[in-house]
């Protein structure tokens, strides 16, 4: 099995570089987590996976995480090359379920509904802020819509059969504050002083 972090790529994603040569405990644990997933995922990875893992780190990490989660749940999977959804689950009773993964971000500056995480001004105490729940939901709905369209195209091309099921897998970690597990606010005021706090 080849090392997932073997290549020192100057154009690699910053997270890849940090985890490849950990300088702190968090990065070392992240490296251990990656190596643990890779041990099971390597036989399923396409020949381009390791290159894409360096360049599109979180998206490819999620693809690996999704596949290993299904494998360790005892499911039989395939990860087809390009031109098909990310994972194909073959059930023992003959049914087939496809999963198409996506890891949306908060959006770039061209997006009017982008989600931005406010940062405290250096030297000042942390601020509380409203979590933009609507914008987060819009980003997630957008990701779902994009992948639903992709699944429809796969069905029209016959890649996904009419009797097959298809699920969209959305990793929301790249959207600031989206992974708060339902606690969709940080605060709307300073609870100690009662001071009103505005979005930064």
């Amino acid at each position: 099995m080849r090392n997932l972090f073997a290549v020192d790529d100057p154009n690699a994603d910053a997270a890849y570089k940090d985890i490849r040569a950990p300088k702190g405990e968090g990065a070392a644990v992240a490296r251990a987590n990656c190596d643990d997933l890779w041990r099971d995922f390597a036989p399923y990875a396409s020949e381009h996976f390791r290159v894409e893992f360096r360049r599109h780190f979180h998206q490819r990490w999620f693809e690996m995480y999704l596949a290993v989660a299904l494998l360790r749940a005892g499911l039989t999977i395939e990860c087809p090359p390009k031109g098909a959804p990310d994972v194909r689950v073959q059930h023992r009773d003959g049914r087939v379920l496809w999963l198409e993964g996506i890891a949306p971000t908060g959006g770039d500056e061209s997006t009017s509904d982008r989600v931005v995480q406010p940062r405290a001004t250096p030297g000042e105490s942390s601020v509380a802020y409203y979590v933009p729940r609507d914008q987060i939901a819009i980003r997630i709905c957008g990701a779902l819509r994009e992948k639903a369209a992709r699944l429809m195209a796969y069905r029209q091309r016959g890649v996904i059969g009419p009797e097959h099921q298809a699920v969209v897998a959305i990793n929301v970690r790249g959207i600031p504050d989206a992974a708060l597990r339902g606690r969709t606010f940080r605060a709307c005021c300073n609870l100690r002083t009662g001071a009103t706090v505005h979005d930064a």
């Binding site: 702190g24 819509r145 970690r173």
Partner: protein, 222 residues
């Protein structure tokens, strides 16, 4: 959710049904697509909140599957036995109600332990795995295995390996004694089969507060 400012107690909470959201541009966004035509080809949405630094064990424990009640063919309950999934039931007045959140997996605590060694030995261990090399006499019986500690002992050796494995598997190998830190003597075969081993950076410190905690160095974040 509403909080009492004096006591910080939650005094009220609830959900608001929002079938439609508005973009900044004013255009509407369908926030309940599975209830509308045109989505029958999608059996459900699986949501994950994990990332490389914050993922639970087993992988997928964070998953939440929302089935599309109008899909054709539909998702079958428990078809993806990972994380959690919603079970829906139709309402007489239309729409659906969440009647159960089905839990599929149980969280596994991961112990993060440390092994002090030399550069040369670390290379061998990372290439081919551990071999039993230490012995300990305990209650008249000799035990052999690999030393692991809850702290990174850079004062003993120049290099530290971080060994991550399910806490349940290492618990039985903890050694008695009062060294000022907890120690384990784990058979190499157990580590090689179940653990992930990476080099631990010299500047890093183990997670504070791990000493004395029964879940030493383990991941407890969700």
């Amino acid at each position: 959710m509403t909080l009492d400012r004096a006591t910080l107690d939650v005094v009220d909470s609830g959900f608001q049904h929002r079938p439609e959201l508005l973009r900044g541009s004013g255009s509407p966004v369908d926030a309940e697509p599975f209830l509308h035509p045109g989505w029958e080809h999608v059996a459900g949405a699986l949501i994950s909140g994990a990332d490389v630094a914050n993922h639970p064990h087993p992988p997928g424990h964070d998953f939440m599957l929302f089935p599309n009640p109008n899909a054709a063919p539909p998702y079958t309950e428990r078809q993806l036995p990972v994380g959690r999934e919603w079970r829906l039931a139709p309402l007489v007045e239309g729409g659906y109600q969440i009647v159960e959140v089905i839990e599929h997996s149980k969280r596994i605590a991961i112990a993060r332990l440390f092994h002090a060694t030399t550069q040369e030995n670390a290379r061998k261990i990372l290439a081919t795995g551990f071999v039993d090399c230490s012995r300990e006499l305990h209650q008249g019986r000799w035990y052999s295995g690999v030393w692991l500690a809850e702290v990174s002992l850079f004062e003993l050796e120049p290099l530290i390996l971080l060994v991550s494995m399910p806490e349940d598997l290492v618990r039985q190998y903890e050694l008695p004694g009062d060294q000022g830190y907890r120690r384990w003597l784990v058979p190499a075969e157990v580590i090689n089969r179940h653990a992930t081993i990476v080099e631990f950076p010299r500047r890093a410190k183990p997670h504070p507060g791990s000493s004395g905690n029964p879940q030493v160095g383990s991941e407890t974040r969700s």
